[in-house]
């Protein structure tokens, strides 16, 4: 598609979504302009705030990369939340190990690796339920989300409770040396940024420039025909679910090792659901994903300013995100209808 057409689409989506939200705000007697300024100021106008944006951007982009795999394979991976949680549990498991004798850097790497494995296993489970058990992946993913949420609560209030008393604030903090290094004046671990950039580049490369990526695409577009090319669609789908789960798990690992330094009940922070919105708005394409993640992260981080400075409920940022995705779908639909010539 030509650049001009794409730009026009982006403009249409933005105008539609922001127009609708602005209208709502005006009806409520709130100035959309003030809101816009507040959100922008609150997200990118200071180094610290931009750091906060990045803190959200990293796990969100990891989850979105995972979803790119599963969407390519034609699967609805609704279980991302659960996969993030499992990754977090995996990382916590490693970081709680005593007397490993390993240097902190090695243990941290091992923890991240474990989070990838754990998330991958949870994703694979949903994949297995679908391919072997005949359980619809939407339902399986959802069910597994609830199960993972239950498990993490149980771990925090039970076996992994704080010394002294179980608390909603999560498990005990890991020893300081097991916190991912953050330079003074920063709020986000450079290692996590490097990790997510590498993951994103790898995702793009695997999906667009490898035989395996092509296989995923083929299995997603037409599983029946893919078999004629020697592709096993169920195996490919299962692998995609595992990778998707693994990347979501990695997001959980980052949450634990770089952000919270412990396991908390809502460790997944709804990134799983948010990432679904991101990838849908991106039209399931790779390139726009980091940009949309950044936009969503800015909205999430900037929305904190709404109650502070304007005494406005910050759910507004979620409204804007939802409106963007919905108008995206509307615009795609209208354009397709036009090109079909009705």
């Amino acid at each position: 598609m030509s650049i001009i057409l794409q730009l026009r689409r982006i403009v249409m989506i933005t105008v539609l979504a922001l127009g609708a939200v602005s209208l709502l705000l005006i009806l409520l007697g709130i100035s959309p302009l003030t809101i816009g300024i507040t959100l922008t100021k609150g997200s990118i106008f200071s180094w610290l705030k931009f750091n906060h944006v990045l803190t959200i951007w990293i796990p969100l982009l990891l989850c979105s990369c995972g979803l790119l795999f599963t969407f390519r394979a034609g699967l609805w991976n609704i279980g991302v939340e659960g996969q993030v949680i499992c990754g977090a549990i995996g990382a916590t498991l490693v970081l709680r190990l005593d007397n490993t004798g390993l240097p902190p850097a090695a243990l941290l790497s091992f923890a991240l690796f474990t989070s990838f494995l754990a998330g991958g296993l949870w994703g694979a489970l949903a994949g297995l339920l679908k391919t072997r058990g005949g359980v619809n992946e939407i339902f399986g993913g959802l069910g597994l989300n609830f199960v993972a949420q239950g498990v993490v609560l149980w771990l925090i209030l039970g076996p992994w409770k704080r010394a002294g008393m179980a608390s909603m604030s999560g498990t005990d903090l890991f020893p300081r040396e097991l916190w991912m290094w953050i330079p003074p004046g920063w709020r986000v671990a450079p290692a996590a940024i490097v990790l997510v950039v590498i993951v994103f580049l790898l995702t793009g490369m695997i999906l667009n420039a490898t035989r395996f990526g092509l296989k995923i695409k083929a299995a997603g577009f037409n599983p029946q025909a893919a078999r004629l090319f020697g592709i096993r669609p169920d195996l490919v789908g299962f692998t995609a679910m595992s990778i998707g789960g693994g990347l979501a798990g990695l997001a959980g690992g980052v949450q634990v090792s770089c952000v919270y330094h412990r396991l908390i009940p809502s460790i997944s922070s709804s990134y799983g659901y948010l990432a679904l919105l991101v990838v849908m708005l991106a039209g399931y394409k790779v390139t726009p994903v980091p940009i949309i993640c950044l936009l969503f992260a800015c909205l999430a981080a900037g929305s904190i300013q709404l109650p502070i400075t304007l005494q406005i409920d910050s759910s507004l940022s979620g409204v804007i995100q939802g409106a963007l995705v919905l108008s995206g779908l509307l615009v795609y639909g209208l354009q397709q209808r036009k090109s079909r010539g009705h």
């Binding site: 092509l214 695409k217 577009f221 037409n222 025909a225 078999r227």
Partner: protein
């Protein structure tokens, strides 16, 4: 009663119908014949309002009318039995019978259904799910539904493909009695025998235009001439090889897949053979091919291949839906079809793709997404994907949707690549194609092989009897 005047229809750039005019009279059966893709179904669907015409007029009792939806058509008593059954397989017979009707009273409708069944000597259980019925029974049900709805103009689109002899007889009797009651009937068919048996008049369509019209009694030669213009010159293939080593062995294979499944099928395919699978659609040919390729696992019996999977290729009937991957480009298909390294660069497969585009004269560039190719080009692409080391080519309807020239080209190509080590197995609904292209013929009837013969040793008459199940001598 109803008249079509200069009806045209185009699907995007495809002109399916061009100024077709037709008249249908009460108390008569009007046949429509023509080769595959002539536009018969399209014309009928326009007449029921299922799809919209691009130009032309309808006259009902000399009055110009609109037919914008099946609802409009039903109001003036037009009812159609579609080529692919448009019913609700998961619902019961009774629900299907009532669907779309105005009267919803199960008790009442059950009685009406029973009465109709009785009239036509059909036998249907109202509680059964429709998916459990045979194609013939599904047609019977639809027919009764149309009659219940008071259809006075009945359209039947190839009602006899895929049904048994007995069901066909029941159907024809029903049609005759409807005709006697004053209904106007349009019967679409490929089969000249049917037309001769039933129809009072016949219209021949070719390439979307009227190519001939006759009244009973019909002149068979003229009809064929109208259908095909130049009668297809049979080019007996230059058969170079005699049957050699066995490549594929079926031993008592049974399967429940498909309309009729497979019942204990045993046969051996040898190198150098071109085996044509004949039979009414859905008699097991397709299950046979898919099992041979390995797409389907049989429920019992054993298949032994003397070939690796990599040396088999399968070309399904529905190329776009089952054989190729819409969304991918020509080049991507070529990359997938050949073993290569894990990384794809901008050059991967490019040379090969260009080569294939040229050799197979595919209208497109390596980056063309394949859903933009025409049927003929899709077939060429599929053939180009078969690499040189393939030894067993399995095809469903290899020339479906191809014009005479493309079809001839395809066969020339296939025969030219057939060496002493290779074999081709193909299914086709067209007996002439089978007679012309194959060295050996297997006839399928109801999931069994009812005739297995060298082409030389048989003739058209024997084959057509075998296909309809009359001639069930096993060899």
């Amino acid at each position: 009663m109803i008249e079509l005047a200069e009806i045209s229809k185009n699907f995007g750039r495809v002109q399916a119908l061009h100024r077709v005019s037709l008249k249908v009279n009460p108390g008569s059966i009007h046949g429509i014949i023509g080769e595959n893709g002539a536009g018969k179904s399209t014309l009928m669907k326009i007449l029921t309002g299922f799809i919209r015409k691009s130009g032309g007029d309808f006259f009902f009792h000399s009055e110009n009318i609109d037919l914008n939806s099946p609802k409009d058509a039903r109001e003036i008593g037009i009812g159609m039995l579609y080529q692919e059954p448009l019913d609700f397989p998961q619902l019961s017979v009774l629900d299907n019978f009532m669907a779309g009707g105005t009267d919803f009273s199960p008790g009442n409708q059950r009685t009406i259904l029973a009465k109709l069944c009785n009239n036509f000597s059909f036998n249907l259980n109202p509680e059964n799910k429709v998916e459990e019925l045979t194609i013939g029974e599904r047609q019977q049900l639809e027919l009764m539904r149309l009659i219940r709805d008071g259809a006075k103009i009945l359209i039947l689109d190839e009602p006899t493909s895929g049904i048994s002899e007995k069901q066909q007889e029941l159907l024809f009797n029903a049609l005759r009695s409807l005709k006697d009651d004053g209904a106007a009937i349009l019967l679409v068919s490929h089969k000249l025998e049917e037309i001769e048996l039933l129809c009072d008049e016949v219209t021949v369509l070719r390439h979307g235009k009227i190519a001939g019209y006759q009244k009973c009694p019909f002149d068979r030669e003229k009809m064929l001439h109208a259908m095909f213009d130049i009668l297809p010159v049979s080019q007996p293939p230059a058969i170079k090889h005699i049957a050699g080593e066995p490549l594929l062995n079926f031993h008592k294979i049974s399967s429940k897949t498909g309309r009729s499944g497979l019942n204990s099928v045993s046969t051996t395919i040898r190198s150098g053979e071109v085996v044509g699978l004949a039979g009414v659609d859905g008699s097991g040919q397709s299950v046979f091919l898919k099992s041979a390729f390995g797409l389907l696992q049989p429920d019992s019996g054993s298949i032994s291949h003397l070939l690796e999977v990599k040396t088999r290729a399968f070309i399904p009937a529905d190329r776009l839906a089952e054989g190729l991957i819409p969304g991918l480009t020509i080049r991507e298909h070529h990359i997938l079809s050949k073993e290569s390294g894990p990384i794809i660069t901008s050059k991967s497969g490019l040379a090969k793709t260009r080569d294939a585009i040229k050799t197979y004269s595919i209208k497109g560039t390596p980056e063309t997404e394949i859903e933009n190719l025409s049927g003929g080009n899709l077939q060429r692409l599929l053939l180009s994907l078969i690499s040189a080391d393939i030894q067993l080519i399995l095809m469903e309807n290899p020339t479906r949707g191809l014009d005479v020239q493309s079809a001839a080209w395809t066969w020339k190509h296939l025969h030219s690549r057939l060496g002493a080590e290779e074999a081709i197995i193909f299914a086709s609904p067209d007996l002439e194609e089978i007679m012309e292209q194959s060295t050996r013929i297997l006839v399928f009837y109801n999931g069994s092989i009812t005739l297995d013969t060298q082409t030389k040793a048989t003739d058209y008459q024997q084959l057509s009897r075998a296909v309809t199940g009359e001639d069930s001598q096993k060899q």
